[in-house]
């Protein structure tokens, strides 16, 4: 048994790769076989991630040398408190999305396309896991590319032809981003001669003064910012989230953006160091300003939208600003808030996008103004929306409030009162765009509500939504449980032991 656990870091990547092949082969036999295999594979990954997390929490950081070659020659997988936490979060989201997809996928994916769809879906999840646990910066790039290609195609696989355009734009910007990331990696390699993240962190400080290192930092930042869709590099995101199939939106909004943000934080804090961004190349102020603009601008744009998915997309831009905000503050508490927000945002955005998908599934409605009285026909769905929405606004004691509290606390502690104020204004703006939907759903004109008498969505869609909605509340109440993992993770990032 121990031998199996020792091999889990790689099995969590290789089993799903083989699983993707099996999905293909099973789907060749019968189209309906592909879904169970997908679900089984992702379940395995989720279970493995839980085991790995507990192993990391008890036994400390795990290093796995692929091919038995120790770094710097070989590639290593590293699991520490930070990324095993992220791993659990994204795999939980992926699992729930997969459950949701049992019926939700049929909404946008024609039946004859289900098999390749699920293969790509599985590959995307695998790529995300790889991005999360790799300890080699070029290997990170390879997984970024697996993830990206899968994501471009999934976005473009919608029924509506507009998804193709959204996918293409995503591809163009994503490729620019990938190019920048490779360039950044190249500069890092030129400066140090190694690709292992741990070694880079140790060797880079010697050449912190070089323009090469600064350029590497800038390119990696620009690249990842495009991938995460940090304002103002978010141009691909609204279309991609709006036009892509509901399942894909959920997965990309929750897992992909989170892992990319993770990778960015990893690069900033574990390849470079907190000292680098505060002293050698002081960019925290700039990051903070951009984050503040992102928070406000994203929220304001969200308020202006009528399409529910597009509104949520802009809200994502605003919310990702919070994570950037944490990077800009870069102290213990703010980063705890940032990591907490990675989880919080995944949970609540997943819930909200699932609800948006279910409304489309049952009624075909996308416009917010058409949703009046929806709470009568879909009470549970709307209740989930309200709860997740409250979390998005930051109403205590939901998880969304907890992360914002930490961020504000961190900002105040760092003396950034103005930034804290921006954060609070952002959550007030969030109240405006979320509340508008809740108001229409619950208190809208009742006569129109009778028009679309679709009942609640099927159970396989309802259960993940309700789980996520409940998590918004429970994770908030029992926030000390994730914090027990996040605390050491942040200490690790900030260079402690």
């Amino acid at each position: 048994m121990n031998a199996v656990i020792a091999q889990l870091p790689v099995l969590i990547l290789v089993v799903p790769i083989v699983g993707a092949l099996l999905i293909l082969l099973a789907g060749k036999v019968n189209r309906n076989f592909s879904y169970p295999v997908t679900l089984a594979t992702i379940s395995f990954q989720f279970a493995a991630s839980l085991i790995l997390l507990s192993a990391v929490m008890t036994g400390g950081t795990i290093h796995y040398y692929l091919g038995g070659w120790p770094p710097p020659m070989g590639i290593e997988l590293v699991l520490d408190a930070f990324n095993s936490f992220v791993l659990v979060v994204i795999l939980a989201m992926a699992l729930l999305t997969a459950v949701w997809a049992r019926q939700g996928a049929a909404l946008d994916i024609p039946p004859e396309k289900t098999v390749p769809f699920f293969v790509v879906f599985q590959l995307l999840v695998t790529g995300l896991c790889g991005m999360t646990i790799t300890g080699d910066i070029f290997n990170l790039y390879v997984f970024v590319e697996i993830t990206s290609i899968a994501a471009y195609v999934l976005v473009a696989s919608g029924r509506g032809a507009r998804s193709l355009i959204a996918g293409f734009n995503y591809l163009v910007l994503g490729s620019i981003a990938a190019g920048f990331i490779v360039l950044g990696i190249g500069y890092l390699y030129v400066a140090t001669g190694t690709l292992n993240m741990g070694e880079l962190a140790a060797m880079l400080p010697a050449s912190y003064g070089l323009a090469t290192v600064h350029a590497a930092f800038l390119f990696l930042m620009i690249g990842f910012s495009i991938k995460v869709a940090f304002f103002p590099l978010h141009l691909w995101l609204p279309d991609a989230y709006t036009e892509s199939p509901a399942v894909v939106t959920i997965l990309i909004a929750t897992a992909t953006s989170k892992v990319t943000a993770y990778a960015m934080i990893r690069v900033i804090f574990s390849v470079f160091t907190p000292q680098y961004i505060t002293e050698s190349f002081p960019v925290t102020e700039v990051i903070l300003i951009i984050a503040a603009i992102a928070i406000i601008a994203g929220a304001v744009l969200a308020i202006a939208q009528d399409n529910l998915k597009r509104m949520l997309a802009y809200s994502s831009i605003s919310q990702m600003g919070y994570i950037m905000f944490a990077i800009g503050i870069a102290n213990q508490i703010a980063l705890e808030g940032g990591l907490l927000h990675i989880m919080a945002h995944a949970v609540m955005k997943g819930c909200l996008f699932m609800v948006a998908g279910m409304i489309i599934y049952r009624t075909g409605i996308t416009g917010i103004h058409q949703m009046s009285g929806l709470s009568r026909t879909m009470p549970l769905t709307c209740a989930a929306f309200a709860l997740a929405g409250a979390s998005m606004i930051g109403i205590p004691p939901t998880i969304g409030f907890m992360s914002k509290y930490y961020l504000v606390l961190g900002a105040v502690e760092a003396g950034q009162y103005l930034a804290a104020a921006v954060l609070l204004i952002g959550s007030l703006l969030a109240a405006v765009y979320i509340w508008r939907v809740i108001e229409i759903m619950y208190f809208g004109d009742h006569h129109e509500g009778a028009l679309h008498s679709g009942p609640e969505a099927p159970l396989s869609m309802l259960v993940p939504v309700l789980i996520l909605a409940a998590s918004c509340l429970l994770l908030g109440l029992f926030v000390d449980i994730p914090l027990e993992i996040i605390g050491p993770a942040v200490t690790l990032l900030l260079g402690g032991s």
Binding site: V18, L24, G68
Partner: protein, 144 residues
């Protein structure tokens, strides 16, 4: 159609050589320039040539779209499988040394690398063929 006769004849003659060459490239990877990618692409090139020369209908019997992805999966599976085999022989993933020591055969490294390269080659070949077949329209034209 008439000017195609030349192309067809030349193709018929050259395709076996191209394929043989690609196999050489794959195997030669360990000792000189070459390897799975290059070999796989060259092999796929032979199919492309076939496609250009005979059209989609003309190659129906020899390659079909249906099989390509299974072949591609097989290639990935060979690679991933060898890695898993290493785990079975209680080494780390892709640690060929584990197989060497478990089987007691020295210098297995080169052979395993060849196998891995073959896996890559199969995948590349199959995927490239599949992509080209998908790009070709119904008549099999990839020309104006």
């Amino acid at each position: 159609m008439r000017e195609n006769v030349v192309i067809r004849t030349v193709s018929r003659l050259s395709i076996p050589f191209i394929q043989l060459f690609s196999l050489y490239v794959i195997v030669h990877g360990a000792s000189g320039a070459g390897g799975g990618f290059q070999g796989g692409v060259v092999f796929a090139a032979s199919f492309i040539l076939m496609l250009i020369a005979f059209g989609l209908s003309g190659i129906r019997g020899r390659i079909s779209e249906k099989g390509t992805m299974v072949l591609a999966a097989t290639g990935v599976f060979i690679y991933a499988g060898i890695g898993l085999l290493c785990i079975l022989f209680s080494g780390n993933y892709l640690a060929y040394a584990a197989i060497e020591s478990a089987l007691g055969i020295p210098h297995l490294h080169g052979l395993l690398i060849d196998l891995v390269e073959a896996g890559i080659g199969i995948t590349v070949m199959a995927v490239m063929t599949s992509i080209i077949l998908d790009f070709a329209d119904k008549e099999g034209n990839i020309r104006d």
